[in-house]
């Protein structure tokens, strides 16, 4: 194999690269109704992260997002078990305003756990513009927190239109556009150009050759973050995609860890 760069050579030869650790900004945990995931417990996940060179995973537990009966306890427990390897997004369901209020009230109590919030509107049969998200957005904006939201192209409930509306109002949140409006790639570029507090997230993007090159060319590699939906998708597969893309090693490092490191800095005490 003729390697196009030093970083590509190192990843192919060793599987992980010491001076390019991976930070995964879009993860989950636990089993899932619609698919089988081999590594879904905190122990198995961290073990696999060690094997493939993932330094940190920021996640929200499937149970939190899919079932109002479960809440954020599994995420909190997992982070406290592996404080150097895991951080969580506080999962909220906009249909339950009392629960949302409680989550906001107790957010600071879990400053060792949370970096922000996770929104998953279509799975919770809601729109991003649901009133129930409003107190979360206000709190996140006041405290300059991260919000990772699921998005998809051409969707009324989680597409570019509702996201643009939120961004026009909230300027201090750091909004991670999960899946980067999948298929509506030009809209992702436009929104990232218009709002500097937006980061394009790569889960489900990287099995579409050519998109990453377009993002880097039009938005720049400083506002793209690596994510895998782990334990859904394989880290090496997605790293391979970043290596295969026609971009520079500096771009690759920005995407694989540097941008995430900057975003997480306020939340991780040395």
């Amino acid at each position: 194999m003729k390697y196009k760069s030093k970083l590509i050579k190192e990843f192919f030869e060793k599987g992980k690269v010491e001076d390019c650790p991976i930070i995964d900004m879009h993860g989950h945990m636990g089993p899932f109704y619609g698919a089988n995931y081999s590594y879904n417990t905190p122990e198995k996940m961290v073990n696999e992260m060690d094997r493939v060179g993932v330094k940190m995973l920021v996640f929200c537990h499937h149970g939190t997002l899919m079932s109002p009966d479960i809440g954020n306890a599994p995420s909190i427990e997992a982070v406290r078990k592996f404080p150097n390897r895991l951080r969580a997004y506080c999962g909220v369901n906009p249909h339950f305003s009392d629960v949302v209020k409680k989550e906001i009230k107790s957010f600071k109590k879990y400053s060792d756990v949370y970096v922000g919030f996770k929104f998953l509107p279509p799975y919770q049969e809601a729109s991003l513009l649901h009133e129930g998200y409003k107190p979360v957005l206000e709190f996140a904006d006041d405290n300059e927190l991260l919000i990772l939201t699921h998005t998809w192209g051409y969707r009324d409930n989680c597409g570019p239109k509702p996201v643009r509306k939120l961004l026009e109002k909230y300027h201090k949140i750091k909004l991670l556009i999960g899946h980067s409006f999948h298929d509506e790639w030009d809209a992702a570029i436009e929104i990232a150009k218009d709002f500097k507090n937006v980061y394009l997230e790569l889960t489900a993007v990287l099995d579409n050759r050519g998109v990453l090159e377009s993002f880097v060319e039009n938005v720049g590699s400083q506002r793209i973050v690596f994510g895998t939906d782990y334990p859904w998708f394989d880290h090496h597969y997605y790293i391979g995609s970043v290596l295969g893309a026609d971009i520079t090693d500096e771009d690759r490092k920005n995407i694989l860890y540097r941008n995430a490191e900057k975003l997480l800095k306020p939340f991780i005490k040395k």
Binding site: N36, E48, D207, F233, L243
Partner: protein, 251 residues
């Protein structure tokens, strides 16, 4: 590690998102740079335009490239648009065609015994692989279960498995049919799936495929090279299984 890519195409899509590869010459250059020794290719004109015309274009394109094998796309014989008799196999032999691809949704027919009874009996005997793209068939699992039930000896390779995990769908087929294979371009996307399949069914029925040009070559390659399975298994998945399958096909 040597690679044999069984799932990639040449040609330009109607709406290109990526940089296509339009010639066997350019493709071979890319494969050489990546250390991919052989490939089983198809041509987009077989899909976007018309199977017979596309088959001819593919044959001409790969002529003289010993590292490239082709796949012919078929249509039901009843309309007389395509002759699936002895001439078809002769053409396969003359043009280094080692497999068949079907696009029933695109080409508007049913993939079953009523439509392809005699022909599929013959290709089952000849052990000619049939590749089916699950993404292009909208994950029609009933069709796959039906065709395997009708032709239990068929050498069937499922490709482009999809972004969602489908192990609950295809593992029972691996369990039941000894000539049922899966290709890696999207199987490798799923964390721990390669390891799960190998642990349960061994490495023999997994074949490296990149899904190029829609997917990066490097995605599955890096995953296979560093998968948590024995080195000898990786070699089978990356190269040896495909060589075995192509060699045994009696065209």
């Amino acid at each position: 590690m040597k690679f044999f890519d069984i799932n990639l195409y040449i040609g330009t899509p109607v709406k290109p998102l990526f940089k296509p590869v339009t010639s066997a010459k350019d493709l071979t250059k890319m494969l050489n740079n990546l250390g991919i020794e052989k490939a089983l290719v198809w041509h987009l004109t077989q899909y976007y335009y018309f199977p017979s015309e596309g088959n001819n274009i593919l044959s001409k394109e790969i002529k003289g490239y010993k590292n490239l094998y082709g796949s012919f796309v078929i249509l039901p014989p009843h309309t007389k648009e395509m002759d699936l008799g002895p001439k078809f196999f002769k053409s396969m032999k003359e043009n280094n065609i080692k497999a068949i691809r079907v696009f029933p949704t695109r080409n508007h027919y049913e993939l079953n015994k009523v439509v392809f009874g005699k022909f599929f009996d013959e290709i089952s005997e000849r052990r000619i692989p049939v590749l089916i793209s699950m993404a292009r068939e909208n994950h029609n699992w009933s069709m796959i279960y039906g065709i395997m039930k009708d032709f239990p000896k068929l050498t069937c390779i499922l490709c482009d498995m999809g972004s969602w995990d489908h192990t609950r769908m295809y593992l029972p087929l691996m369990e039941t049919y000894e000539n049922f294979y899966v290709e890696t371009s999207l199987v490798c996307l799923h964390e721990g799936t390669l390891e799960l399949i190998v642990k349960t069914y061994g490495p023999e029925r997994i074949l490296f495929g990149s899904g190029f040009p829609e997917i990066y070559f490097e995605s599955s390659m890096l995953q296979i090279i560093h998968a948590d399975i024995p080195e000898s298994f990786k070699k089978k998945i990356a190269y040896e299984n495909a060589v075995r399958l192509i060699s045994r096909a009696e065209v």
